[in-house]
């Protein structure tokens, strides 16, 4: 005992550890802040420099402009690029994308709710696992393969046309396709097609948080509501829905944000009119106008910041 105390120095009752790792281990124990620093530095350097650095560089470029004659970037501070966003063509692109994102979010919420509700309230044991995998597998399946599947389905010679034909409902499909704005030559080149694929691809992102929120609603609240004489409809509207709303809002963050930024789906399935993502891609690629592309990409950031701020007020982050 005395030997240990003697060799351990003034502050510790145990001997100091030998070797590099021993010294490190002792140092971390004595100075927890040092350990924290060592743990946090690599991820913060990576995310801070590579990611945030790139984002800031991008944002700065949006304050430059492009010289119309030389096609070179003019490195002087200006808001002219942002003013370009308000030109009729560009503003149309923004409105079109936001409207699509809003519609996709509403549709995804409507389709997701019954699945989430059943999985949270009624499914048990094997069925619960089945529902969970039933949502996870499509969520994690290849994004492009899913789009490809819809290209097969929506093609003019594809399965959907065939089903409508077999049901003698071809007139209905043709009627939908002749509608202005949403129609087109076939579903695969119409807004309606783009909309369906968006809803399909982002649906799992809506189901999971909605289900998480519903699972946290205590069962006795529902029973209490019924005991107090509420009809199932009233219980749903005044008890269940308000409690599930944060989950739905959390899901809508995903569906809204993902739709705003996607440029592959409208490029493969949809009409030739652009969405924000396509505009960013075209401006930085073929047009070589990086400032305008940067300004365009600020639009989803600003919209999402507003959206997140509202969602935070609704308490959506507790359901993530």
């Amino acid at each position: 005992m005395t030997a240990i105390t003697l060799s351990g120095g003034k502050t510790s009752i145990l001997p100091r550890r030998g070797g590099f790792f021993g010294l490190m281990s002792d140092a971390f124990w004595r100075h927890p802040k040092l350990l924290l620093f060592v743990m946090l530095t690599p991820p913060l350097l990576w995310l801070g420099i590579i990611y945030i650095g790139s984002l800031i560089a991008l944002l700065l470029q949006s304050f430059f402009s492009i010289d119309d004659f030389s096609g070179l970037v003019n490195y002087e501070f200006t808001l002219a690029t942002y003013a370009q966003l308000l030109s009729p063509t560009n503003f149309d692109i923004i409105i079109r994308t936001v409207v699509m994102a809003a519609l996709v979010t509403v549709a995804a919420a409507l389709i997701a709710f019954p699945i989430a509700y059943y999985a949270a309230r009624y499914a048990q044991g094997r069925w619960k696992a089945l529902f969970y995998l039933g949502v996870m597998l499509p969520l994690w399946s290849s994004y492009l393969v899913k789009i490809y599947a819809w290209k097969l389905i929506l093609a003019k010679e594809g399965i959907l046309t065939w089903i409508f034909e077999k049901l003698s409902l071809s007139w209905l499909l043709d009627g939908i396709l002749t509608l202005p704005v949403i129609g087109g030559n076939s579903l695969s080149v119409s807004y309606l097609g783009t909309f369906i694929v968006f809803v399909y691809i982002w649906l799992p992102y809506m189901i999971l948080p909605t289900q998480a929120a519903l699972e946290r609603v205590p069962g006795n609240l529902i029973e209490a509501s019924a005991d107090l004489g509420a009809t199932p409809r009233q219980t749903f509207r005044t008890v269940l829905l308000p409690l599930a709303l944060p989950g739905i809002v959390a899901g809508s963050i995903f569906t809204f944000s993902l739709t705003l930024g996607d440029y592959i789906i409208p490029q493969i399935i949809g009409s030739s009119r652009l969405f924000i993502g396509q505009a960013v891609y075209a401006q930085q690629g073929t047009a070589g106008n990086v400032p305008l592309a940067a300004a365009f990409s600020v639009v989803p950031i600003v919209i999402m910041a507003l959206y997140l701020w509202i969602a935070k007020k609704q308490g959506a982050f507790d359901a993530l």
Partner: protein, 270 residues
Amino acid sequence: MRSDQKTSPLPLKIAAAGGLLFLHLPILLIFVYAFTTEEKSYQWPPPGLTLQWFPIAWNRPDVWSALGLSVQVAVIATAIALVLGTLCAAAVSQTKFFGREAISLLVILPIALPGIITGIALRSAFSLFDIPFSVWTIVLGHATFCVVVVYNNAVARFRRTSGSLIEASMDLGADGFQTFRHVILPNIGTALLAGGMLAFALSFDEVIVTTFTGGQQSTLPIWMLEELIRPRQRPVTNVVAMAVVLVTFLPILAAYYLTRDGDQIAGAGK
């Protein structure tokens, strides 16, 4: 367990089943198309069934090189994400410090913002510093958004791991590294494996960021995207699509079984 909880209204059943079918039928359709004899269009029903496209797809060098690059990128990105994500999760869950919330936000940001913004930001940074496109520029982008999956899995497990285990290990004389090796790692191992597999799947499937950071090289999703925009040989695409579905299902199922028990506990606790 109350008996009346198990009966559900019929419309709800139909809506839930319909929703699940809506999620799964399109993927199943891919499997049928892989066998079709039709080459020029997406005709339904298939005029005939054949196995001839499987050897043709198998012998395509462009598919194999794209697959090779995808695997290479996914492995490196997953390795980086495992290290960074675990470090971050350990720091955030085991200690309290100023700016902890900000770090959670920073980790989630690459996946919360649309991929196109990550992509174009990285691309403009590369061109700013004259960094040529290579495997490493792709890895850089992928690792950035893979960190969040590892982080989420690790944080959830750290929260369930009792701190007294670590204290006991220290009391029994283990140094920090021994504690990590013999106590912490076995506890978080399956969570890391699950997170790693999901990160691999995420990277393997990524296309939006890769179009900006990839240059001339094509990963498997980029190859697929080119086939979607300008179809050259549709049957080969069908077969590759089916193979991709089958291959991605395996890590998802494995990740599910690895984290299953814990998730049920976590769900019950809520």
